[in-house]
Assembly symmetry: C2
DNA sequence: ATAATATATGAGTAAATACACATATTGGTG
DNA sequence: CACCAATATGTGTATTTACTCATATATTAT
């Protein structure tokens, strides 16, 4: 395996590791629907303020989310809405591969998610 | 956010975390082309035997790879070839989002990868 | 200017993860 | 059977990562 391949795989791994966290996915899920202020994210995810800020920093530094300040509020949105398609595809893969369906199952990032794209 | 959503995101995160490792991606990259014995994986990835076995175990337990024994050799292949499409899509996302292209750039899981599907 | 709300950050900690080294297991061959 | 090659596993360790708590910064309102 040549170096360039190895390097690219390393970048890809970094990206997947960044979104491979349940709390960050929660946040992405929430702001994927529509941009949200930090307080809204805290409410909808049920995570502590500090924890949300912690993960938002990681998402910011990975250019996964963008910010916009309006007054005292800072609104977060996806840097690239394609991410939702990607996560949908991943959800589909996991769904089809594991075959696990619990009662009340909800496929991650379901169809309504993409309605606006 | 309801519990079922949260649970699904947790599963999705687990999956992404599993494939979000450079060495495991290397392995997936190698066996994605065609099934490979452990020795072949070791050679092509330049990882130690122990390390390859370590990661293969993780990939096995996540049902990402399958095994087939032929004599003393154990051949690994992808449990679900869709995974390559998924990773291709992720590579495309990273490529388009970051815009980083180095000399000798090779897009992860490029087109030839999917020729057989 | 003070207080209150919204958000970010630094330091410390606990847990998860990747890894190396030594050893075990399995199968093939003389 | 003894020996060798292929692969797996157990244990210890170092690094990374997620998290909490306390505190800082920024904005608005009084």
């Amino acid at each position: 395996m040549i170096q360039a391949e190895s390097d690219m795989l390393k970048k890809l791994a970094k990206f997947m590791k960044t979104i491979g966290d349940a709390n960050r996915l929660k946040i992405i899920w929430v702001i994927g629907k529509e941009e949200r202020s930090v307080s809204e994210i805290i409410n909808e995810t049920d995570l502590s303020q500090t924890l949300v800020s912690f993960h938002l920093k990681i998402l910011r530094e990975s250019d996964i989310v963008e910010t916009k300040r309006i007054g005292a509020f800072i609104y977060y949105s996806l840097g690239n809405p394609e991410l939702i398609d990607l996560l949908s595809a991943c959800g589909e893969y996991v769904y089809r591969t594991t075959g696990e369906i619990e009662p009340g199952f909800i496929r991650p990032f379901p169809l309504w998610f993409n309605e606006k794209f």
